[in-house]
Symmetry: C2
Subunit: 421 residues, 2 copies
């Protein structure tokens, strides 16, 4: 019998609270098929690890360490913001990948990322065939942006959603306490430059009239300053305080990013970033209210301490399903999450061809946003609500989450040449 | 037998994740002494509620609702940033307080706040005696700033400490994943304008060499830009990435707040606030590293979802002890937390006279900060570590923390005059 082919797993793009849960699913499942899959190598810093022949032998990690990936945020093997160009533009990169795969007897490629990564994964399956070294390529969906098509939701998003909804509810309680004599307006900036999924998730905190957040500013809706300020004023008049959730990617009526609105420090340095301070300052200048603002940034996507149990399960399931699809002989596919029902929430694992999923963005439907553009609809709530269900607390040590650090043992190089990506 | 006197409870200043746990301790304990304490009235929006005769009858709240205060962040009755002036400067305010207390048969005053509030509490006990209407005044310590003297720590601080240490650890895992191709520096801004206790708490996340945070910027240590930038460079060289925890209150070598360093938006509006973007931008301008930054702001002090169990217990214990002190006939005192041992952590309830505690700030000892000024010492860790011990999760509903909203029934006014504070 032929020696089983090894597998290569890589994490790609911005990391999440649960991408390691997918890694856990891939590695634990691969360990169940030793006759089909040999070693599982991980790329150090994502796809760069393959290009630079910098492979990590996950076989050197104990079962306990791999199990702990399930409750550890971020990318344990390192991720990369590195998009392979088209085959025509940089064929050498793809050839190098296949060369490294061949040298290490790698026959399976599991790529854990968003749309760009699924595109790369698809191209690798094509070039392998072309070069006479076929590789089974299976994508593992991941993105806090929730913008992959053909899957009901994306692992990583549910936990960010739970974090921002919880945080804005808590801040709402805080501001409500302070509003009589002090802070009347609170602005929380959240991620999601192109699609408003994360901003929408803030809206889950509003279960009764008057509860925070009172206003959401979506990247899909150009900011009408006048209408916005009028709404803030009305909310403060009615409820005594106003909490605003704002996407980092909102634009003005001319389509210009608000975050690029010329913020400069004393030294003239431009673009500090941060939409929340701009919005907060606008409110103070025009309405005079005392404000506070927060920018959650990486805290929101790294917050494994508040992960959604649904999200953790789905992230693990996608890693597991990717390996099972490969073992069953599927190629150039990505497992997906298919919703069966909203209440009670039921879902199952599906799959889609990489050719279909690559380089498409799923935008938020317009009817998920209220007609006035400032909040979410019941339909949106029905979609989002199950994704934040359940808690999945990590273990704690010395009062802090006990996250794992892997050994990350390097695999001996076999090729005698460097590659500069 | 005389009708028992009623009690007045008020929340003061910036709220915390556990100030309601103290309220819970006050109300539940008072309900155990119906022969000594009649009703417990709470001030709507803190002391303003007394001045404006706007009292809330906590007796209308169910036992379950009061119990739920223990897991609900912020000030359920409303807090106020309102400092009573000195007796000489505004005697009318104190006289008004006594007038309202007399009208509602209030003989106990429990004031839940920081240094200023303990000062007010002390003055009320004096003026009551002077005006022939003695009031038993007991302070309940509260401040995330951890700067009250005579108590080993302050309820509210431990939970912020746990939040910032957890958050900066999580962000550290994130940046470590991304550093090869993207973000190399992450800056988290935390509260604590005068004392570096919260900044120090970030340091608890560093348990092994190289773990985030790598650098802390304390309000106690003037920012030496050159030394700071050299350290950032060194950390990135050694570990590949650098995580910085910075106090909102850091100053430059001339003593000027960094947050006041002339930040202006496109419209020329000054002082957007935010030290993190200034520090991040400084790093990019001088060293060229890609950065991300976060400003936790209210999220950190409202984060009941990640409260320290030690902190929750102490907050409750302070409320309970305040009532017990009053019942035993003590006056013008504040219960305190006395540390018995670090490991295992043991503490007991003590007390201190309000005359001693009023208007003093407890600064962080210099030997809690390393000689180079950029991290915490083992001594500091020994002090801080027990304060973040244990988790005390709130119940969840629909994927979100299920915090209580009280009925807040108003007590009928008895005085026929308005009071404009």
């Amino acid at each position: 019998m032929a020696r089983p082919k090894n597998a290569f797993y890589a994490q790609s793009g911005g990391v999440t609270a649960v991408i390691n849960a997918s890694a856990c699913g891939v590695i634990e499942t691969a360990r169940k098929y030793p006759e089909t899959i040999g070693k599982v190598y991980a790329g150090r810093n994502g796809i760069l690890g393959a290009l630079q022949e910098d492979l990590i032998d996950t076989g050197k990690e104990s079962d306990a360490a791999i199990r702990a990936l399930r409750h550890t945020p971020a990318g344990a093997f390192g991720s990369a913001r590195y998009k392979l160009k088209g085959l025509d533009q940089n064929r050498a990169e793809y050839e190098r990948l296949i060369e490294v795969f061949r040298a290490h007897n790698i026959g399976y490629f599991f790529y854990n990322g968003g749309g760009d990564s699924q595109d790369t994964c698809h191209k690798v399956s094509q070039i392998g065939d072309e070069l006479g070294y076929p590789v089974v390529c299976v994508g593992v969906p991941k993105t806090i942006d929730n913008d992959l098509p053909y899957t009901d939701c994306c692992p990583g998003f549910g936990s960010v959603a739970k974090y921002v909804a919880t945080s804005i509810r808590e801040a709402g309680y805080d501001v409500a306490s302070m509003a009589a004599t002090s802070t009347k307006v609170f602005v929380l900036e959240v991620m999601g430059r192109h699609a408003g999924w994360i901003t929408a998730a803030c809206g889950l905190a509003t279960e009764q009239a008057g509860e925070a957040p009172h206003i959401l500013l979506f990247p899909e809706i150009p900011l009408d300053q006048k209408a916005f300020l009028a709404r803030v004023k009305e909310v403060v008049k009615t409820h005594g305080f106003c909490v605003v959730g704002v996407s980092e990617g909102i634009r003005d009526l001319e389509g210009k990013f608000i975050s690029d609105s010329g913020l400069r420090d004393a030294f003239g340095h431009a673009q500090l970033g941060g939409v929340a301070p701009v919005i907060a300052n606008l409110i103070r200048s025009e309405l005079g209210y005392k404000y506070h603002w927060a920018v959650a940034d990486y805290l929101q996507r790294a917050a494994r301490h508040l992960a959604s149990k649904t999200d953790v399960r789905q992230a693990y399931a996608m890693g597991k399903a990717a390996v099972e699809l490969a073992v069953k002989g599927h190629n150039a596919v990505m497992p997906t999450i298919e919703r069966i029902s909203d209440v009670p929430y039921k879902w199952k694992v599906g799959k889609v061809g990489l050719a279909e999923v690559a380089n498409q963005e799923r935008m938020m439907p317009r009817d998920y946003i209220t007609a006035d553009g400032f909040h979410i609809t019941a339909k949106c709530r029905r979609y989002l609500s199950p994704l934040i269900e359940g808690e999945d607390y990590p273990p704690y040590r010395n009062g802090l989450p006990d996250y794992v650090r892997l050994k990350l043992s390097s695999v001996k190089k076999k090729l005698n040449k460097e590659f500069k990506p």
